[in-house]
Symmetry: C2
Subunit: 279 residues, 2 copies
């Protein structure tokens, strides 16, 4: 019951799509807070007990926790209970589902709401978090159209824009536009922090640095899990980026003004087109 | 008369520190706009003519333009005219000043207002741009204390916080906290833009990507100049970053969860301390 799970609960309640919400979590303080904020109606610590009688289960936890939770809820799921998730990586979720929810795949709808934030915990949850945000569903061949539709209806009720991709395609795309930038931002901050005179450097870091590194304030545990869950695609993007930096280093070594400006120009123009198309 | 020059003019006028401001520029449209917005009192295209009779000259132009402008204004400067600049790199400015303003070094005060923005042009100029912003002065051994003081008084009138560094020290620090992040952001956008399916990737890029790449909307000409002007220090930081990425790639290849999380953890903690100390 963190940012994503809490916001899904608040959105669906605001849309009148839910009756009774059971929140499951590791931390008692967070669950008590979720009850107090009326994000959930009931708190539970044992996943298997919590899913008893549920019409739908929403797995909104770190990638590293998913297989264990799937294994624990599998025997307790109602036959027609829809299971969906919010993971930032989808091939690993498919793999885990095939292992732990093998007899429940018809009702399993992998999904990824693209609405992260560097904040976490239920206190960051908001009923409008998914408004106009992308949600990617990556149905398995076994996923029934009924289950898919039910999950899509709920995300639409949250104001999200739905897209469908295969798990592999999803992971390629997000390794490039999300996972790699997170790695680069963490690395940038770590490089400054590791300088012998880190304090002096941070003193002169300004708003450009602040925005560039905002995502380095994201949860280290969560992002370690994401990077490992999607490491094949991430490594491919990282290697491409390393090759690009090596090329830029050569341009700098040879003071190749034309190539440097051309690259900056291309990037600036591409970003402008993207920003404009988003408005 | 762009973001920096225009904002300096507006701030000083608001503080009652100037009488008559002559704006010099390459573009007639921008200068006409500067006159219309009353940022300047008079527009000029020929630097040597513009500095005649001036008490102070503020060079707020791309690093690549600085030597040419210094050479053109040198013969026309009044004997006691203070010359200062706003360059993001300072060793190259010192080099250019030694070459082109050799007989005027006593009155030369290199400075760097740390208040960039991805916007440019006089229309982006604001009287409060430098409020609570850092301004680094890097006086040369020849710079007179009178000249230094006069420049400091003006920046204080703009609400800036003054710091003093040597040119070399300045360039090391800013290569790490500013120039490298710009290169990384341009490279990231260029990598996505160069993908065979760039449109699909951009479609799923979200707010994390937007903030991470905001500085890639900065002026390509200006940043090409900065990167070249400071390429020795920048290459050193870039090589350190390449080594760090190689280390991260190895962690990923070996699925070394502990090392990945430790690095992310360190970065997140360092960024939190920095953000808190800035508030």
């Amino acid at each position: 019951v963190g940012l994503i799970g809490g916001s899904f609960a608040l959105s669906l309640r605001a849309a009148g799509k839910v009756k009774h919400i059971v929140g499951v979590g590791r931390g008692s303080v967070n669950l008590a807070q979720a009850l107090k904020l009326r994000v959930i109606d009931e708190a539970a610590h044992v996943p298997a007990a919590a899913v008893k009688g549920a019409d739908m289960v929403f797995l909104a936890t770190h990638a590293g926790q998913v297989p264990g939770i799937m294994a624990r809820i599998a025997p307790a799921l109602e036959r027609s209970c829809i299971v969906t998730d919010a993971g930032s990586t989808k091939q690993d979720v498919e793999r885990h589902a095939r292992e732990h929810l093998a007899s429940h795949l018809e009702c399993f709808v992998p999904a990824h709401p693209v609405a992260g934030a560097e904040k976490s915990g239920v206190e960051a949850a908001r009923a409008d978090l998914f408004q106009n945000k992308n949600v990617v569903v990556t149905p398995l061949p076994e996923t029934s159209s009924t289950a898919l539709q039910q999950v899509e209806v709920l995300w639409q009720a949250c104001g999200a824009r739905l897209h469908t991709l295969t798990p592999a395609r999803h992971d390629e795309i997000f390794s490039a536009v999300s996972h790699l930038p997170h790695v680069l931002a963490y690395a940038m901050v770590d490089q400054i922090a590791g300088h012998p005179e880190a304090d002096l450097l941070f003193k002169f870091a300004a708003s450009g640095f602040r925005d560039f590194t905002r995502i380095a304030s994201s949860s280290p545990e969560m992002w370690k899990d994401i990077c490992l869950a999607n490491r094949a695609a991430l490594l491919q993007e990282l290697h491409a980026y390393q090759a690009l930096l090596a090329k830029i280093a050569r341009f700098l070594e040879h003071a190749n003004a034309a190539e440097i400006e051309a690259l900056f120009q291309r990037a600036q123009a591409a970003r402008s087109r993207w920003i404009e198309s988003n408005q």
